[in-house]
Symmetry: C2
Subunit: 296 residues, 2 copies
Amino acid sequence: MTLQELGEDRLVEKLTRGLHRSHIVIAGPGDDCAVLRATDSSNLLLLKTDCIVEAVHFDREARTGAVGWKAMARPLSDFAAMSGVPEFALVTLIAPGKTPQRWVTGLYRGLQKAADMFSVVIVGGETSSTAGPAIVSVSVSGWAEPNRWLSRTGGKSGDEIFVTGRLGGSRAGHHLRFVPRIAESRWLTAHFNVHAMIDLSDGLGADLPRLARASGLDYELEETAVPRNRACSIEQAISDGEDYELLFAIAPGESERLQQRWRRQFPKLPLTRIGRLISNPKTAKRRLRGGYVHFT
Amino acid sequence: MTLQELGEDRLVEKLTRGLHRSHIVIAGPGDDCAVLRATDSSNLLLLKTDCIVEAVHFDREARTGAVGWKAMARPLSDFAAMSGVPEFALVTLIAPGKTPQRWVTGLYRGLQKAADMFSVVIVGGETSSTAGPAIVSVSVSGWAEPNRWLSRTGGKSGDEIFVTGRLGGSRAGHHLRFVPRIAESRWLTAHFNVHAMIDLSDGLGADLPRLARASGLDYELEETAVPRNRACSIEQAISDGEDYELLFAIAPGESERLQQRWRRQFPKLPLTRIGRLISNPKTAKRRLRGGYVHFT
């Protein structure tokens, strides 16, 4: 059965029947807005929206569950970047009327699986038809403690730059099944004074300069130190993008203790020092080659 | 200049430079998430997302400012439906790389104008390219008092049904310049015990049955009483959709006082009694002809 045959009311009913509920959701899908218990007002409200477009962020042939996973995991990776805690998600599906219902069902299974992993509740959304490619947009709200959230702007000259995981080659599959580094990010800010952080979505070549610029600094990168996925060149590790690993800056004095404790806490996930932030206004506009360029 | 020539970083920089700031926005566009002061935690958090698709919700020839206005006003109309107060918006723009930059600039002017009218702050968003039609998706967060928010579910048997404004013929222009009934909705819940409310987006023929069903009731509609826009038939007033007027249910005892006070408060906006809610489980599945059907 296609979406056109099913109609919107029945589609929404089918999709929302399978969603998990929570006692903090007072009115969820099916009403005009989602109504939720607000976070403790001593916390900050965090909002993020992100979308994936067929033929840009996923192929028509990709497993639909993996497409749903990716659509949810991308904005959650931004929460990781800020050391925030995601709570609620709204899902917008824009798809042609001829889309098979089972594609949508699979998509929602993937969305729900990623949401469940981080105790995020899907509280509503929107559907629309289109004559173009399918699009899944996910908006997430959550919170962070005022003294704990991180941005890209706090880096200091001399800070060492660390990256989690291995980079490059994401298009082979990682981009559809990565795990947002929320647990790692929350652990970092619970135990260390991290100065600035970003998640690597457009690739080290785009995101490292962004973090440095946002902090008003330049950077030195030890290219050979960049941790690479199997069969990836340094160039690929820097340029491919969609790694969804954490990149952060921390005072050099914390470096040793961080690496020791990290190995005990996350023995399966590498943490690698790949460079440092430096003050050098003359070269502050220098750019790494590569990184994903939008609107091509 | 097209979006492709401009590139995403410069596009985001241009768009966000013009946005209005607020002291409750701690980190806005340009960071991974928007960071905001949370509402008083005695209030409820309201979330809504909505999207408009070229050739479905607007024509390529429509004035871009009006397209932006509509994209923002639609989710705000859902806040009106629940008597909530919108606060923050995230804007997602999905457009082909060949889109002229001035189209996007005009779009943002319209988005900002609608946001300003209701003191809503645009705190972030997302851009992506597409091979298909342009899409603008807006997610809004806000709040409502626990004893004041309204849903579709609270209607009681015998309630009178009122509608604001005049219905039908929206495609002639109203759908691009309607004003979300937030002021009217907040006034209603400040002074009257409204039982259930919805905004008319898909047309009376779809939304009145929705409100009745959500309240577990049936309805009687006095078709000839339906306030119509000039040159509209009853059929059109019921079926056209995109009226973005309020439809609500209130105890018959409140009816007279409501109409008197409404005329003094909103002398330019008609308020019309068009029917009532009834208990009649046998006909509860009866449907009005018309109303907008999605995925056609």
